[in-house]
């Protein structure tokens, strides 16, 4: 299924992810996408190899005299880290399940109007992440963006002025894009959306609602 993904993360995002300089919400987006997309994972791991080369050549700083003993002491109190394996039956990849506390059934949705629901995920304040639920066939109000907004489909699909987006596809929206995503009629659409600035809506009802969206 990973081959079916058409819309990928940008190299700039993957570089920042590999370098470790993204805010938490964007890290969550990248980690979730990499769990579904081998193409982007390969690119991210290649960019991590750049970091590996820099580490190999970045010089040395002497460790404390008892550092090895102290590290063995830490090891003896720790435990082997279990693998966080793929569960092909779940809608949410593991990084999201870690935030939600389970799969889709455990998400605590809040209505935001017109049948659309959202669940804000707890991340650091530099950027925000939320899950969006768009009923089959429904539209998210026409909106623009003040910063960068990334939307990744987890279930169902949506279409807007740009293209159609299905599971694993990421739409990168910047200040230029004003769009009205519409969910495919067959299935409710669930997305992960992250943004580094508040959304702005273009019709007055959603604008009144916006303070409650906290995005």
């Amino acid at each position: 299924m990973t081959e079916l993904i058409k819309h990928h993360l940008t190299d700039t995002l993957l570089t920042a992810y590999a370098a470790g300089s993204l805010p938490e919400a964007f890290n969550l987006m990248v980690a979730t996408h990499l769990s579904l997309c081998d193409s982007c994972r390969a690119q991210a791991e290649a960019l991590e190899a750049v970091g590996g080369c820099l580490l190999a050549e970045c010089g040395t700083e002497a460790m404390a005299a008892d550092a090895l003993e102290a590290t063995f002491a830490r090891i003896s109190t720790g435990t082997a880290v279990p693998a966080r394996r793929r569960d092909s039956c779940s809608v949410l990849p593991q990084p999201l399940r870690d935030y939600v506390g389970g799969d889709v059934s455990t998400i605590r949705w809040k209505p935001v109007g017109m049948g659309v629901r959202q669940a804000i995920l707890p991340t650091s304040s530099a950027a925000s992440a939320r899950l969006l639920f768009i009923p089959a066939g429904a539209a998210v109000p026409d909106h623009g963006h003040r910063g960068i907004e990334l939307t990744m489909v987890l279930q169902g699909a949506f279409s807007d002025e740009v293209d159609r987006f299905a599971r694993g596809d990421v739409e990168v929206a910047d200040e230029e894009l004003e769009h009205m995503p519409v969910a495919d009629p067959g299935e409710d659409c669930i997305c992960l959306a992250v943004t580094d600035a508040p959304l702005r809506f273009n019709s007055w009802i959603p604008r009144l609602v916006q303070p409650f969206l906290r995005i």
Partner: protein
């Protein structure tokens, strides 16, 4: 790891750097399979001072860098069974652990991780694949060394300096394509084996 050595002889242009890296993946295997403390001590002597240097260049105080470097090396022990030598060299793998520790320590952010794709069903990764990954990483290292100073400094700033994502220019002309195809191949095989 003897299998690696015999395979390696058939490859021309085998480089010292690649051989040294290869030795480290053997160390990790001994730690994962036999909790080999001597192998860990050697790995520690090589990598802990580099991790500490990396963290100090990222803005950590010597005390914090020492503490984090110990934590990173303890994580290396505890995650050694998840290391896949066909997808990353040991330097790269330890870099990712140090990077994540830096995010925890300096920014106090949570760091979401992708799902693990550990080497599962096959008992041992193919030696030729491991060797190829070492060699391509060595090519990358040579390419980074050969970059003009200004460009190399930009990359170093991006990886050490915690720059915002807007400040990083990704176009550096590094030979990432080959290494990416290599990783892609390893992932494809892994997915196929896990089905």
């Amino acid at each position: 790891m003897c299998k690696d050595a015999s395979e390696g002889k058939h490859l021309d242009r085998k480089q010292d750097g690649a051989r040294a890296e290869n030795d480290w993946s053997g160390h990790l295997a001994r730690i994962a399979e036999a909790q080999d403390r001597a192998a860990f001590a050697e790995l520690f002597a090589h990598f802990a001072p580099r991790v500490k240097s990396f963290l100090m260049r990222s803005g950590a105080t010597p005390t914090l860098a020492e503490d984090c470097a110990q934590e990173v090396m303890a994580t290396v022990w505890n995650k050694s069974h998840l290391y896949d030598p066909t997808r990353a060299t040991v330097s790269t793998w330890i870099f990712t652990i140090a990077r994540n520790r830096r995010i925890d320590a300096l920014r106090k952010d949570r760091r979401p991780e992708p799902e693990d794709l550990p080497w599962g069903p096959e008992p041992e990764p193919a030696a030729a694949d491991v060797m190829a990954m070492q060699q391509e990483t060595e090519m990358l290292r040579v390419a980074i060394r050969a970059l003009p100073d200004a460009q190399r400094e930009l990359i170093e700033q991006a990886y050490f300096g915690d720059l915002s994502h807007r400040e990083i220019a990704a176009r550096t002309g590094l030979p990432l394509g080959t290494i990416k195809s290599r990783i892609r191949l390893a992932l494809d095989r892994l997915r196929h084996a896990m089905k």
